[in-house]
């Protein structure tokens, strides 16, 4: 069977032939991914203004960054945003997926409807919601008034929600450090949950449908109540899916930009800077205000480190509870 051996050997090819297939993708990946990613790291040590490298500054930009209150407040705002979007989105999408996983008529209809915002562009979504949140003419305030609530400023409200709740309870004083995210940020969070929930529902639904029926049958024969079935069968067997949804929602949430850019302000990031998230801060530093690109690269690197470490920490924390 020498001819077969020769054939097998043929699969070990010379690098040149392989290169022919790899070069088109390779050139693009190297030029527009690898080089930029490496440069982001390098640029953060240089003074770069308006696309021109002016000189090496070492760690100076990082030191500036750690003394920059706007940077820290943008980090805090992003953290509020992530903390607002991720648990709510996870809870609501899991709830919807569990409801849809029963013997439901017209399942396809519900899935279609819930997924609809995901294919809609974020720019359009942001415009529509900005109009819904309009303080005077908006749909939301109208609905609130119909149900006897008070009209609110929504995207124009800089006050923190904890502070607002406290004043709603009649407390005149509230500690400055605990005012919480502004109502404007909450409005942006609501939009993000609305936009992304359909995606998470589809993922959860796929996960739920992967759980074999025998487990449910066994649980039913043993006389488990629905709550017990959920916590002892569904939840552990769904954990890989939950883990994926948690991770991907967190990572996308950290990069929020479009909603902030279109819904808040002017100036963007308002009112009073309470919706200025980290990617918008990066954009503003690098492209808007004088184009301080070295500084923006330092911000980018911190963002990268946060996302990376979050991925790793989350993986370690959650993986021990994930049943594969």
């Amino acid at each position: 069977m020498i001819w077969l051996e020769n054939l097998r050997r043929k699969k070990f090819m010379d690098p040149l032939t392989a290169a022919f297939y790899l070069v088109p993708a390779g050139i693009i990946v190297v030029t527009f991914r690898m080089v930029p990613i490496a440069s982001a790291f390098i640029l953060s040590f240089f003074d770069v203004k308006m696309g021109r490298i002016r000189g090496f500054v070492g760690l100076a930009q990082y030191l500036d960054l750690f003394r920059d209150p706007t940077f820290f407040s943008s980090l805090g705002t992003t953290a509020y945003y992530v903390a607002g979007v991720v648990p709510a989105s996870l809870f609501l999408s899991l709830l919807a997926a569990v409801l849809l996983n029963q013997k439901i008529r017209a399942l396809g209809f519900y899935r279609t409807v819930f997924f609809l915002p995901v294919v809609t562009s974020l720019v359009a979504v942001s415009m529509v919601w900005k109009w819904i949140f309009h303080p005077r003419l908006g749909l939301l305030n109208y609905v609130f008034e119909v149900f006897g609530g008070n009209a609110m400023l929504w995207l124009e409200e800089p006050r923190g929600i904890f502070e607002m709740m406290a004043s709603g309870l009649g407390w005149s004083w509230w500690p400055d450090g605990f005012v919480g995210p502004s109502l404007a940020l909450i409005a942006v969070i609501i939009v993000a949950i609305w936009r992304g929930i359909g995606y998470n529902i589809v993922i959860f639904l796929a996960g739920l449908q992967n759980i074999p029926d025998q487990y449910y049958e066994a649980a039913r024969i043993d006389g488990a109540n629905p709550r017990g079935v959920f916590w002892r069968v569904t939840w552990p067997l769904l954990s890989p899916t939950t883990f994926y949804v948690l991770l991907s929602t967190t990572i996308t949430s950290f990069q929020v930009f479009t909603q902030i850019y279109l819904m808040t302000g002017p100036p963007v990031g308002g009112p009073m800077g309470t919706t200025k998230v980290i990617v918008y801060y990066l954009f503003e530093k690098g492209f808007d205000a004088g184009g301080n690109m070295g500084y923006a690269s330092a911000v980018a690197l911190i963002l990268f480190l946060i996302i990376l470490s979050l991925t790793l920490v989350q993986r370690r924390l959650v993986e021990s509870r994930v049943y594969y």
Partner: protein, 351 residues
């Protein structure tokens, strides 16, 4: 449930009571199940309303007149006030003021400044759709250009991604060469780096290439899509080696094997790649926002954002623009929802 040691004489009655008992239990259970089901449908109905209302609001607003927007409470269905003219025809009017005692209303024609007073009963509310908002919004910004740009960019990116990904995936899946798995790992690790991180250096590179404000800047960097390479490679690996061997024996070249065998066998994956590439390119925003400054190459999303920032107060025009910007994908979605949902779910693309 019922004690087995019951007296023989009473067994019949016992059974009777037991069945009765069971029947009651069953009925109660069914009611509870029914309530549960009703609760499920109620919860889902609330969800559906919450998902649909913003779309309804977008379209409803886009068909209103500029002054109807300012009315509070707002109308769910676009409604206009109509008054009869002297010659018996009707025209749409705005209500300027109402005099309850005299029973008259001052109205102004929508298309003119002419103000007149009519009896209140002569003013009638009627549903009407102001489709001309769409034409007006379209003409207030170079939307034809934006649309053309987005379609052009999307077509080229899709072709580029298909070509580069199939070739690279073929190499990674079928060929053996030095460093293959390491190169693949490097590719995969770069997929994890979020776009904002390399945005600034990419901008500088495009400046150096002289590509800012060109189509290339919006197309070429997206010619290769690492996740598509990954997806295709995984699929190519499932196609058995024997097929490859047989084809080579028959004198098939490597490229012909890819073209004639591998790709036709991978139609489903290729469709998925095409779909998420289209959706991703159509909706991408941050990259084109940074890389373009002029309307000539600006894609639809950036143009729409610019329009929204410049308009500010004409909500009916903004909603019309938003509606015609999302229309193509939503229409496509209604025709191919299954494929689109599947494709986007595999890609992890959230737009």
């Amino acid at each position: 449930m019922h004690g087995g040691a019951a007296g023989r004489g009473r067994t019949g009655r016992m059974e009777q009571t037991a069945t009765l008992h069971d029947r009651e239990l069953n009925a109660a259970y069914r009611v509870r199940r029914g309530v549960g089901k009703a609760g499920v449908y109620a919860a889902l109905a609330i969800g559906v309303v919450l998902m649909i209302v913003p779309f309804w609001w977008m379209i409803s607003t886009s068909l209103k007149s500029p002054l109807e927007i300012l009315e509070f409470p707002p109308t769910w269905i676009p409604t206009g006030h109509f008054a009869e003219r002297a010659d018996g025809t009707w025209e749409e009017v705005y209500i300027v003021s109402q005099d309850k005692e005299a029973g008259t209303t001052d109205v102004r024609s929508v298309d003119g400044d002419l103000e007149r007073t009519v009896t209140s009963s002569a003013v009638v509310d009627r549903i009407r759709f102001r489709f001309r908002n769409y034409a007006e919004a379209w003409s207030q910004a170079p939307f034809t250009r934006y649309y053309f740009n987005t379609i052009l960019i999307t077509v080229f990116v899709v072709i580029g991604v298909l070509v580069t990904s199939s070739l690279a995936a073929y190499a990674f899946a079928r060929m053996k060469f030095w460093g293959r798995d390491n190169i693949f790992l490097v590719f995969l690790s770069m997929m994890m780096v979020p776009q904002p991180v390399y945005l600034v250096p990419s901008y500088i590179i495009l400046v150096k290439l002289g590509w800012i404000d060109t189509y290339q800047a919006l197309i070429v960097p997206w010619f290769a899509h690492i996740f598509s390479i990954f997806l295709l490679r995984q699929h190519f690996k499932t196609i058995p080696d024997d097929l490859y061997d047989a084809a080579i024996i028959d004198g098939c070249s490597r490229f012909a094997f890819l073209w004639r065998v591998m790709l036709p066998l991978s139609k489903a994956v290729l469709v998925a790649v095409v779909i998420f590439t289209i959706v991703g390119t159509w909706n991408s925003f941050l990259w084109p926002l940074v890389m373009t400054n002029t309307p000539e190459v600006r894609p639809l999303q950036v143009g729409l954002a610019r329009f929204s920032q410049e308009q500010g107060t004409s909500h009916e025009l903004m909603m019309a623009a938003a509606a015609f910007s999302v229309a193509p994908l939503i229409i496509a979605y209604f025709f191919a929802q299954k494929q689109i949902i599947q494709s986007m779910a595999t890609s992890g693309l959230k737009g």
